[in-house]
Symmetry: C2
Subunit: 236 residues, 2 copies
DNA sequence: TTTCCATAAACAATGTATGATTTATCGCGT
DNA sequence: ACGCGATAAATCATACATTGTTTATGGAAA
């Protein structure tokens, strides 16, 4: 699994990157990243001619990229008023965490029943790196954590579910990177990952699924609490 | 609830129809329906100039509509080879049914705890129409069935989940219309809807959620069985 | 003076048309 | 079966028309 040895988490195998054609693809990816990473403000207007100038293309590919992003839900359109950045706010994050709580246990259950020794070794390797890093490098942690779960969901037969998870994951990864982990959360993550590996080894699908549900919910609660706090600080 | 008195099911309130601008919107909707209703064959090439000619527009709006459909997952792109119709095959249908089994119980649980007397009256009214129709008019049944579930999920706070459900529902509605209901399935639908209403009235959220899981799973099994049979017939 | 409103100018979205360039695809002859 | 040239099509650029939105501006009213 080459994608887990370096820092950058890769999409699960078999998920088309949606960035096919050279020019338009990078345009799409650039705008997408700007939204997900928060470099474009919530509700900011996306003016076609501006984007075209900024990226050195004509307006045509820009408009197509915006429609693609619209279909994925990262951009909203109003007739004759063009595109705006869809805000990745608390509601947004809560929504996709809740969907994760529902879907990830099912993906996990399947994984437990299908896991090979190589899979388990890979999980343990990544978990080793996570413990080694011990949250020192936030970016690295978030990549490793994503890789950990990717190993589990990567080969699931339900491609819709796996792709949905990945799409959500990309957002959550970016959002959670903006915050530091509390000590309690750090401990919970390490403990839950270890327990999960134990369940996988023992073939306890139900326990693993239940654990993942708690894991995702805990992660969501943690991020949302941070968002709330930051929001309150900004408002107060 | 005006949307349930006539034949055409409407998207849940608050779901933007994604068809904003007049021209491009209808283009998008037309192509989308052609795919969902199966008028465009699986994997069929979507040639930009053809579509433009057929719909009497220039190529630009066509390309944008295709990108939007790509983002929604109804169309696939390969670099420099353009767009193709994403096949709505057994895998596709199984995937989204399975996601429904995971998500709909959660939506239902919330509904049971929030349902007003008007909601319940509306459910009973629709259920009355469903029984009255008694599967005589397949199209009408599918619209009514959709309306029934829409009442439940319409106002859920998790807009992502509700929109995901709706997007999937539009596909499943079209697919299931291609088949007739077996007698066993008819009986199950009527029984489960009635039981569901009883659970809602009694405020039994868990029972309702469990029932919906079975309802969706049964519906999926039924449709998939039909698809399998038709596929086998075609192959044999 | 400030607030409000109508109006005009500037801006931008949307669609059309056309051409250049690159990349697939297909038919044909070897 | 293979290569090659013709055709088809995707992709991008450019320019422009039309339409609707936004903003600036100059008064009229409070």
């Amino acid at each position: 699994m080459a994608e887990t040895s370096d820092f950058k988490a890769e999409p699960p195998e078999g998920i088309d990157p949606l960035g096919a054609s050279s020019e338009g693809a990078s345009l799409y990816q650039l705008i997408r990243e700007d939204i997900i990473e928060g470099r474009l403000a919530a509700n900011e207007r996306l003016v076609v001619t501006d984007l075209a100038r900024r990226h050195g293309t004509s307006t045509n590919p820009v408009r197509e990229a915006l429609q693609l992003l619209r279909g994925e839900g990262f951009v909203t359109f109003v007739a004759n008023r063009g595109a705006r950045v869809r805000p990745i706010d608390q509601d947004f994050v809560r929504d996709i965490y809740e969907i994760g709580v529902l879907i990830e246990p099912a993906l996990t259950r399947w994984f437990v029943n299908m896991a090979t020794v190589e899979d388990i070794a890979e999980l343990e390797r990544i978990q080793g790196l996570i413990e080694e890093n011990n949250f020192a490098d936030t970016f690295r942690h978030s990549e490793l954590d994503t890789a950990f779960h990717t190993v589990m969901y990567q080969r699931h037969y339900n491609r819709h579910a796996a792709e949905l998870w990945w799409k959500h994951r990309e957002v959550l990864r970016a959002v959670s990177r903006r915050f530091n982990f509390t000590l309690a959360r750090r401990a919970a993550i390490l403990r839950e990952h270890s327990e999960l590996i134990a369940h996988v080894k023992a073939g306890n699908a139900d326990e693993a699924a239940e654990l993942i549900a708690r894991h995702v919910e805990g992660s969501g609660r943690h991020v949302l609490e941070h968002m709330r706090a930051r929001n309150a600080a900004r408002a107060g």
